[in-house]
Amino acid sequence: MADEIQKFKVSIDGITIEVDPGTTILNAARKIGGDIVPPAMCYYSKLEGSGGKCRTCLVKVSKGSEKDPRPMPKLVASCRTTVMDGMEVMNITSPEVLDARKGVVEMLLINHPLDCPVCDQAGECKLQDLSYEHGTEQTRYEFERRSFERIDIGDKIQLHMNRCILCYRCVYTANQLTGKREHGIIYRGDHAEISTFIENALDNDFIGNVIDVCPVGALTDKTFRFKNRVWFTKPVDAHRDCPSCSGKVTLWYKGTDVIRVTGRKDEYDEVDEFICNTCRFEKKHTDDWVLEHPTDVSDQSVIASNHYHAFNPPPVIKEDAQLKEANIEQLARSEKLK
């Protein structure tokens, strides 16, 4: 049986799993799940070619493979390194990795303005989570942070370059969904910035997805700008019959109003299916949607505060058939006297 695909056996933090050849360490770790999954800011499984930019997913390979058991000399980016048979990977068990990750977070935050109280992404921001888990309390950076003016990309999306960590996710999204490259990174190194060439308005029907893929608050929904904080809104899964996309979205309710529509995100903050601009920006009415159930929010997320888990919370009082009947009888009697 030579044509049967040989599975590679890897162990990540001592947990072994068998995966197909060509799988990256990050995806192997995601198959195991739990705490051992390295965080990723730039890798996005739905976008081809993403990853390898932010270095938050660094891991230590303590044993290269069964044939060549030498460890890899440096920490490797797990989103770009494929597994080998018999590979042993250390993520949270290696103090070296945790230390390196701390340094990476510090680097990412060098030019980040930390204006979380103002930013609309606060509460669902991956960089916020990452710096909370791995970062230091104080910055050592003494120089002026680079700052830009806000740019409107079209009339619905706003680019806030100050907050950008140059993960390139939005570039890949624009590239792969539109088929026409209008949006890219200009200048080099420290001066690099996301831009549409000469601020071209992006008019593709799927361009709203750059908001969803942005791990920070650099690309935000202008229709949601300063409307409300994320944790005061309630996410509900809903769908509609959309001619251009799958129509499966998350509606963010404040009271009875839909104040924002986003794609459905999984535990790694990646959308399941990209949604079109009509669904995202124009259908902000409960009538337009078929509601399914409240979105599952992790208990640790700030969004979960003050939310019910069940769509219709169970009644506080137990139903009593006998009592109901007696009440109906009583009502009939009192009606007769009128």
């Binding site: 979380c116 109280p117 103002v118 300063f226 003050n306």
Partner: protein, 175 residues
């Protein structure tokens, strides 16, 4: 049965003696206690004229602070409302327009900021949560009122009046 503690006292009721029957010693004893109190220090604080000293960390009515240029510090981040165990705080945010830079410190500000003083338990968690040092419970007591709606304090009641920082500094240096 013998008492376990050995402290039981058996009271004996006897007819009153002559001195007890005339009551005068008992009256004199009672009056002497009353008269003694005439010469003691009066513990009553006569409130409107005299005010008791407040503790340094007394938490009273909230005030929304301004910075050294007189701009409102609050940026409507909602952390006070999130931390509030009584859910007393609500706010609506708005974007700062051009020309309002001297009114508001950040690009976002609270256009409506309301605290329901009937709900508030003065725990001070909003003060602790605030990342902008914009809210402090440094006021006096919240006064009584007749209508429920009057207990919902808006920005008109909460916002600190404008002050001149230079004069404030002079005062503190001369003292």
């Amino acid at each position: 049965m013998q008492s376990l503690s050995n402290r039981k006292k058996v009271l004996e009721q006897k007819p009153m003696s002559f001195w007890e029957r005339i009551y005068l010693p008992a009256i004199a004893k009672g009056l002497s206690i009353t008269i003694k109190h005439f010469f003691k220090k009066i513990p009553t604080v006569k409130y409107p004229e005299e005010i008791r000293p407040y503790s340094k960390n007394f938490r009273g009515q909230h005030s929304l602070k301004r910075d050294e240029l007189g701009r409102e510090r609050c940026t409507a981040c909602g952390l006070c409302a999130l931390s509030c165990p009584a859910e007393a705080i609500t706010m609506t945010a708005a974007e700062r327009k051009k020309g309002e830079e001297l009114l508001y410190r950040e690009e976002k500000y609270a256009v409506v900021y309301e605290i329901n003083m009937l709900r508030c338990i003065f725990c001070g968690l909003c003060e602790e949560a605030c990342p902008k040092e914009a809210i402090y419970l440094d006021g006096k007591h919240v006064t009584a009122d007749y209508l429920r709606k009057d207990f919902i304090y808006g920005k008109d009641k909460l916002l600190e009046p404008k002050f001149d920082i230079t004069k404030l500094n002079q005062q503190s240096t001369s003292n």
